[in-house]
């Protein structure tokens, strides 16, 4: 049977880590969304050097482990644990977000761009007013999945003394010599973040489907 005193007696410590996990995830979420959108636009812009830059970023980052990226900032650049963790998460997740957004943009029929451009709208106006609003509907489900992955991946902070849930759970575990129960409660804290996220994505998906 699960020992609930572990949870109640160490609640403050759990909460401390929970807060850091939420803050680091939120920062990485916003930053990776912005960076990912930028990279996606790089990859499809009618300008070869930008395409190349975007492709190199995505292919490079997607194909190395998140842990290595975080270590790079932690050991290499001597960032503090939480900062190295959040930065690594941002850089890593942005590559996946860029791919999701790019796929969404490419799924909008080419004729939409042509119709808008032939009416005298600029490339930027067309992107903003015609292409991106259509792409976003296609992008929301994969984007939501990336955000859920991001929250789970934030446990990497524990490895670099990132003061998150995982880090604090390790503390509790080494103090109480309990392992299983400690980490079950950690799982519940993560679920309290990922389940609402997942429901939110489902809801948005339904609403967007209806608006069509």
């Amino acid at each position: 049977m699960l020992d609930f005193t572990i949870l109640t007696e160490n609640f403050d410590i759990y909460l401390e880590g929970y807060k850091t996990t939420i803050i680091a995830s939120l920062i990485a979420l916003v930053a990776s969304f912005l960076l990912g959108t930028l990279i996606a636009v790089f990859r499809i812009a009618p300008f070869k050097p930008l395409n190349w830059l975007g492709t190199v970023y995505v292919e490079f980052i997607r194909n190395i482990p998140l842990l290595v990226i975080v270590f790079f900032f932690f050991f290499g650049l001597r960032f503090s644990g939480p900062v190295a963790g959040a930065t690594g998460l941002t850089i890593y997740t942005a590559a996946f977000i860029a791919e999701a957004i790019r796929a969404g943009i490419l799924s909008v029929p080419k004729g939409q761009m042509e119709a808008a451009r032939s009416s005298g709208l600029t490339y930027g106006q067309t992107m903003r007013l015609i292409i991106l609003p259509q792409a976003i509907k296609i992008v929301i489900p994969p984007l939501g999945n990336q955000f859920i992955n991001l929250v789970k991946n934030s446990s990497i902070l524990g490895v670099v003394a990132g003061l998150d849930l995982m880090y604090h759970a390790d503390l509790i575990s080494s103090r109480t010599y309990v392992t299983f129960d400690v980490y079950i409660f950690v799982a519940l804290f993560y679920l309290s973040l990922t389940i609402p996220l997942s429901l939110g994505v489902g809801y948005m998906e339904k609403r967007l489907a209806k608006s069509n």
Binding site: G111, G120, P133, S211
Partner: protein, 242 residues
């Protein structure tokens, strides 16, 4: 108004447009016909620079289309284009589809743009659909909206690329009627179509293309009575017996 002088276009090694010479005057209706792959769409799309010519000279209002110094967005304001597959913006209402460019490109007020839009919607016969989304309209209605969208910019030239070939037969007439009315009002039109009835009724000239070349240019009467080119004869017999 539109002038091609020795225009060539290549896709890589593929020579799509071969030495095109064609002058289209203000108020003229020119119908372009020819077999699939002969370069009709490509020629049309060069006029508003959706495609780039490789060499030669192409001018609209004496302004060179391919010149880097030409403000292409400004040129395009004056040239409406209607596509085979309409390409209405699915996330915008019919009214928003039509007012978007007048507001964003011409800087019209929302109120003014809306009045203009309603005027043209009336003209194409679907004013009651202003608040609908494109997906709620039939193909014929969508294409009429697309025409209204083009007209709302008050262009001097309208380009049509097979505007009825994606439509069910019973809807072709309603779109052709709108186009005929437009032609009779003196709009300069370049129309890629195989609708021979339309060509006979309103075209000033028929241009026959094959394998990237203009093989024949004639009035509809001349063209139908006696196409000079063997290829044109063959093509005509095929589409007329179809």
């Amino acid at each position: 108004m539109i002038e091609f002088k020795g225009v060539n276009k290549y896709y890589g090694d593929f020579h799509v447009l071969k030495d095109i010479n064609l002058t289209i005057n203000q108020g003229e209706v020119v119908v372009v016909i020819g077999p699939s792959g002969s370069g009709k769409s490509t020629m049309l799309r060069c006029i508003n620079h959706l495609e780039t010519i490789t060499n030669g000279e192409l001018t609209v209002h004496n302004i060179s289309v391919a010149d880097k110094k030409t403000d292409i967005n400004k040129l395009r304001r004056n040239i409406g284009m209607v596509f085979q597959h309409f390409y209405l913006y699915p996330h915008k209402t019919v009214l928003e589809n039509i007012t978007l460019a007048p507001i964003k490109v011409l800087g019209k007020s929302e109120k003014e743009a809306k009045e203009t839009a309603l005027h043209y919607l009336q003209k194409v016969g679907i004013a009651e659909k202003a608040q609908s989304y494109p997906s709620q309209l039939s193909g014929g209605q969508q294409q009429r909206v697309a025409i209204a969208r083009g007209l709302a910019m008050s262009p001097e030239i309208m380009l049509f690329d097979e505007p009825t070939s994606a439509l069910d037969p019973e809807m072709i007439g309603e779109v052709l009627d709108v186009m005929k009315a437009l032609a009779k009002e003196g709009m300069t039109m370049v129309v890629v179509t195989h609708e021979m009835g339309f060509a006979k009724e309103v075209a000033d000239r028929i241009v026959f293309m094959d394998e990237g070349r203009i093989l024949e240019e004639a009035t509809p009467a001349e063209f139908y009575a006696n196409p000079r080119e063997e290829r044109a004869k063959l093509f005509l017999s095929r589409i007329l017996n179809h």
